[in-house]
Amino acid sequence: MAFPLSQSDKFKELSSRMSEPFKLIGDLKSQGHKMAGVLCTYVPEEVIMAGGFSPIRLVTGASNSTSQMHKLHANYCSYAKSCAAAAIEGKFGDLDALIGATSCVPKIRLFEAWNYYKPTPFNFIVDTPRTMSEKGFELYRDELVDLFGKLKEQSKVEAGDAELKDAIQKVNKLREVLRKFAALRQEDNIVLGGSEMHTITLAAQTLPKDEAIETLNEILDEAKSMEGKKPAKRLIFSGSIAETNQIYDMIETNCQAAIVADDECIGSRYYEGPVNLDDGASPIDAIANRYLSGRMPCSRDFGVEKRIDNIKQLYKDYRADGVLHFSLKFCDLYQYDAPVIRRALIEAEIPLNLIEVDDPSGGLGPERTRLEAFLEML
């Protein structure tokens, strides 16, 4: 938390709430929300909301727990292992639903193990295609129709296109606020870095939408009136899941660099791209379209060229000095892409550093040395 926004009282309060994810679920449940835990950005919040539930992206705080690793597989990322431990040990409390996606093998196994050992009243895994083709779109859209129907059955609500449109408008509004925060980082002097942005995007995915829109708009107004700070180096952060701010803090607090843009799961993949109702598509079609093709895909998509082009564009637009490619340990998807991205960026003469860590990780020495050595190179 190295940038001016972290000094704001409102921001500090938000950050404090984000640091206790289990407590947040408990609080929201006691306020009467029907909580649907979400495991992946390919799970559409709008469908969940129209279906009578409150979506909440699941994170475990700084747990990095391996206590239930034997129920999964040792070669899974820290996100899967931590969620499994929290789930099976009951730390997520009484979630009313669990919605996953076929993002990757660890998440599928996590979903299965969770439902085996500690079943939620309702669970659904969205079959998500690997390539964003016409067939893929149809598969995904049909999954969403199915999900919507089953959610309504479970929550006993009557809902249709009108409710979907309401949800779409609400989430679009929220994404818009986040994009405004992101745009502030194009300046030379920045008010927020990757660490602050992480807290803000996590808040958007965990708080009830109305509250998130109100609170984040207030913080945005504050941010606009603050004096920015010039970072020593500007970096693009592209990668899998940064569950906590730890990796951002390591870069920004210790090394005086700043993440000025990201291409990461809890970050831009959440807020990039609105659901577009303008061309008269049905709400479900529009939602499916946005989630599959309306934003940068994660590495599960076979088209790595899209990621490469996006990284190059961000590097240019945000006037960066270098790129950090981040993967959690054991994240095969990101590690398969890494050599291809590396070759492309070497050709484009864009400095790149590959980081592979648990999140959070205990070994600060080697990671910090790598980051500092990379910055010394720039």
Partner: protein, 264 residues
Amino acid sequence: MIVVGIDSGSLSTDAVVLDENRKVLGKSVVRTGASNVKASESALEEALNAAGIKKADVGYVLSTGYGRNGLDFSDAQVTEITCHARGAHFLFPGTRTVIDIGGQDSKAIKVSEKGKVLDFAMNDKCAAGTGRFLEVMARTLEVELDDMGEQSLKSTNEVTVSSMCTVFAESEVVSLVAAGHPKEDIIRGLHKAISERTIALASRVGNEPEITFTGGVAKNKGMVAELEKKLNVKLNIFEDPQIVGAIGAGLIALERAQKAAAAS
């Protein structure tokens, strides 16, 4: 102008005293032990004694290595990657790749003609392929660490040590001894294993000659022989390969001190 470079690593802390002509006036290597601060202070004192210089006459101290932070007498900290590149390039201006095998990690660094870091790769996930690996095996085989290289060169038969992990390799070595394999053959097998891992690491940055080999393990003739054979090049090795990082730190210290003096 007198400067000091300190490389505080996980196993040893090395200090080098340089004058403005980049001449090494004194040096020291001490065991880091439990306190990088105490070890750095000892290393500094020993190096200054060896140089015949008083602490008050030192113009700039730059520290590197895992223990580089938290030294109150250090004016700046730079990673050992940058320092090794600079040190190796100073000693061997044709250096385009540095392979550093230290106590607990190994690094490969791609270096420009000017001694700048172009790319690097670190192995810090596991100790197999580092000085620690050799220490453990020397103890298991009851051989002096310094003799491991010589023993390896006496080997006449191929023995393969296949375990990826230092601890499991130790068990494997015990089995090989029990099966009657001569010590020299086992030791050569261990060196082969390290060299394979090292070359895999170095290949990530391209292995462009000239290749300079630094770190304590560069004193091991057996390792040098294995690497030269596999890489098909003659390696550059400084007479005191352990202090290359500290020399690099000293050179950067000198640059910064001279810059500061010019600016005032």
